[in-house]
């Protein structure tokens, strides 16, 4: 505020110089240069400071504990190196949990995305009561996951559940929801899909509405049908959004906990670990057996797995959608070189005629 007030007196001096581009705000002192450079970082710093306290510290502390035989109550531990990691990796349970996690993840995210794209495409059409339909698909998302899990677990009861009773009434054999691993994965994936399909639908719908309508008009003029338009315009334009949705679904899917935990009355993943997921096992080791050294090692292993999958995601999606969003066939390097060349050209043009400088400066 003060610097704006001082401006008239201070601003008088540069008047003599060639008319440089001027910026509103702080004065053109060293301080203002720092301000320009530092402010953005200052503005985002609360998040990172908070994250350092509530996120980074626990992560580091978990790493410390994972190298120890930790006693939670006495708050002390004995350093034992990589023994906890070795223990986790040597347990057949770990590999079963990993298998289950990936199986549930695939069973939930793949059909979920396909259905979400389909519903979004339908909602993108000219239908009556648009807002009503759009809000309706989000209703399952508003329900608490535990409530969803309770209702579905009841429906998937082995002997008296609604699903099996219906199947039997239709003359079909009952499905052993709680003893067959694959069946249990489908049941749990159903809960996840029920909850998240609507959410992803809305995100994809928003992306679809951002696609310029001219593309469709042009395609219609060219004689492309609805289906051709969907595959040649809608889907390619959705790629950046799809990447976001896939990455969040991956992170969420690998950490799936509520649904398998609520799937039966014990919450320990089934008698034969049929639906034991990595996070569920982590919880059982930590809060069931109070073995936080092992739980911490498991948490770090899971973290590394997610990082690895994230990296694979990045590589795959980069190669798939490098040019999307901007619709620019040049690589970033070419773009930069061209931009630099253009700038130099402009500067060269602007140098004799000071009037133009004002526009090119920024």
């Amino acid at each position: 505020m003060t610097s704006t007030l001082e401006r008239p007196t201070r601003g008088a001096a540069p008047e003599a110089r060639a008319r440089e581009p001027r910026r509103l705000g702080f004065g053109r002192s060293r301080r203002s240069a720092w301000d320009l450079k530092l402010s953005p970082y200052l503005y985002i710093s609360p998040f990172f400071i908070l994250f350092a306290i509530t996120g980074l510290f626990p992560i580091a502390y978990t790493a410390v504990i994972s190298f120890m035989d930790w006693d939670l109550v006495r708050n002390s531990g004995e350093f034992i190196g990589f023994d906890q990691y070795a223990w986790v990796l040597s347990q057949p349970k770990f590999w079963i949990a990993l298998r289950n996690t990936f199986s549930i993840f695939l069973l939930s995210s793949v059909p979920q995305l396909i259905v979400a794209i389909f519903i979004a495409a339908m909602l993108d059409q000219n239908i009556r009561a648009k807002t009503f339909w759009r809000m309706s698909v989000l209703i399952p998302y508003v329900m608490a996951p535990v409530a969803v899990a309770l209702i579905f677990s009841n429906m998937f009861g082995d002997q008296y559940g609604v699903v099996n009773t219906t199947l039997q009434n239709l003359g079909l054999p009952a499905v052993p929801w709680h003893s067959d691993a694959f069946a249990s994965h489908i049941a749990i994936a159903t809960m996840v899909n029920f909850r998240w399909t609507g959410y992803n639908t809305l995100i994809l719908l928003a992306a679809m509405q951002a696609i310029p309508r001219e593309y469709y008009e042009a395609a219609t003029v060219d004689g492309a049908g609805k289906i051709r338009q969907f595959f040649s315009i809608t889907l390619p334009s959705l790629k950046p959004t799809l990447i976001f949705v896939i990455i969040t679904a991956t992170i969420g899917g690998l950490q799936i906990f509520d649904e398998p935990r609520m799937y039966d009355q014990y919450g320990t993943g089934g008698a034969d670990n049929q639906w034991l997921t990595v996070t569920l096992w982590l919880y059982n080791v930590g809060w069931g057996e109070w073995n936080f050294g092992r739980a911490a090692a498991l948490a770090w292993i899971l973290f590394l797995i997610i990082l690895a999958i994230g990296a694979i995601n990045m590589v795959v999606t980069r190669s798939l959608v490098r040019d999307d969003g901007t619709r620019d066939p040049r690589t970033r390097r070419e773009r930069r070189a061209q931009a630099r060349a253009a700038k130099e050209r402009m500067m060269a043009d602007a140098a004799p005629a000071g009037v133009r400088g004002e526009e090119t400066g920024r």
Partner: protein, 425 residues
């Protein structure tokens, strides 16, 4: 912004901050009352489910001790209480009196040194096995016993009648009197007559039998794991699974199907601790056939129960011990029983008229007080539960479930269990 507005804002801010200060001062004063030098004490009790400690009951103590104020915090489930307990034990944040459940008592016993001891003169108040379970290896009792779960056999008299079995309580007791093979023989008869299941699950039945073994899984002397080589465990495992092939409804306890089975007649009998009566009544309110017999296969058994503990680093340990003493006094415990049906673990309370005279209308007016009191006194064995009891037993329950749901054969399932147990230590 003009100066007027500025001034007004400043005033509002000043008033707000002053009142905040005043409020802070108030709460500060309230907080300092606890443990003050003038004898004013605020005691906190943390329990779960329903211990029968109503406000009226606690008021009695406050009336007798005007300097004491009691704050009662209830957790919804014992699991919640367990997490809270171990996260704060030895640190700060626990209540002056913390309730614990028998299920996690073995874990608590590892930290017996962090708890204030129960005075020696109180030890004779409880049944022997109740005291024994909460006594550390160096002879320190750390838990004030509250309730227990003496077990009888619950049965459906209507289903028994249809199968041609006796329906009268005394006759049923006579028929089932004996060891587990007697119970399973009766089951065979029932299955032959009706083709339906006799008991609910292998897991529940196994639990009743394993609780009669003195040292099932671990060696009491050195804590080493003996589960896989203990012939008693193998015998019970084989016996229960042999029977469960035809007699079990294969409904894991506490599953949705099991709750449905309580009312739809999927099974005719169930091992029944005192607190189970409420569970059955609550989930099968329309069934009129449930009854309970004063008998238990293999003698007697206890399932569940709780203690009160006093964390040793609390602010008011002595006052808390005094209150815990009063809360687990036989007289108080009988009142708690009247409030919530928590069956007393105190020998004197088992003889109280209010207890022995209690009947349960839902169970066809069965004299449950008298019956369960007798069942409680018949319990002779205090099963040793060490550090790994919980995990070994949990793995065993899963092994039984695997056989019941047809995932594995009994032999394979036993093998997998043995591997899991070996990985524990």
């Amino acid at each position: 912004m003009n100066t007027h507005a500025l001034r007004r804002t400043a005033l509002v801010a000043a008033v707000a901050s002053t009142s905040a200060l005043v409020l802070a001062g108030c709460s500060g004063a309230g907080g300092s009352a606890s443990g003050g030098s003038d004898g004013e004490v605020t005691l906190t009790i943390a329990t779960f489910n329903d211990f029968g400690y109503t406000d009226a009951l606690l008021q009695e103590y406050m009336d007798a001790h005007p300097n004491v104020k009691i704050v009662h915090n209830k957790a919804a489930t014992s699991n919640e209480a367990r997490e809270n307990y171990f996260q704060k034990l030895g640190k700060t944040g626990l209540a002056d009196i913390e309730a614990i459940e028998v299920d996690w008592l073995p874990e608590v016993m590892e930290y017996a040194d962090l708890l204030a001891p129960v005075p020696d003169d109180l030890k004779s108040r409880w049944l022997d096995y109740k005291v024994e379970a909460a006594t550390s290896s160096d002879g320190k009792l750390v838990g004030y016993g509250t309730d227990i779960g003496p077990e009888g056999v619950c049965y459906r008299s209507d289903l028994f009648a249809a199968a041609g079995l006796p329906t009268d309580r005394a006759e049923v007791a006579k028929m089932l009197e004996g060891d587990w093979s007697t119970y399973f023989a009766a089951g065979d008869k029932y299955v032959a007559a009706t083709g339906k299941a006799f008991f609910d699950s292998a897991g529940g039945t196994y639990q009743g039998a394993i609780n009669q073994v003195e040292a099932a899984y671990e060696n009491p002397d050195d804590g080493s794991i003996t589960a896989t080589s203990n012939p008693d465990v193998k015998k019970i495992y084989d016996q229960v699974l042999a029977a469960s092939a035809t007699q079990s409804a294969h409904l894991g306890q506490w599953s949705d199907d099991w709750f449905a089975g309580l009312s739809n007649g999927a099974f005719a009998t169930m091992l029944c601790p005192g607190w189970m009566l409420g569970v059955i009544e609550g989930n099968a309110p329309e069934v009129t056939g449930w009854d309970i017999a004063n008998v238990f296969p293999g003698g007697a058994g206890n399932w569940g129960g709780s203690y009160l503990t006093v964390p040793g680093n609390g602010k008011n340990v002595e006052a808390a011990q005094e209150l815990a003493d009063w809360l687990t006094d036989p007289e108080t415990q009988v009142k708690a029983f009247e409030n919530a049906g928590t069956f007393p673990s105190q020998t004197d309370a088992l003889k109280a008229d209010a207890l022995t005279g209690s009947v349960n209308a839902y169970f066809n007016d069965a004299p449950v007080g008298e019956m369960l009191s007798e069942r409680a006194q018949a319990v002779k064995v205090s099963p040793f539960k060490g550090q790994f009891y919980f995990q070994i037993n949990d793995a065993m329950q899963k092994a039984l479930t695997r056989v019941e749901d047809g995932t594995q054969s009994a032999a394979d399932s036993w093998k997998q269990w043995a591997t899991e147990v070996d990985a524990l230590s």
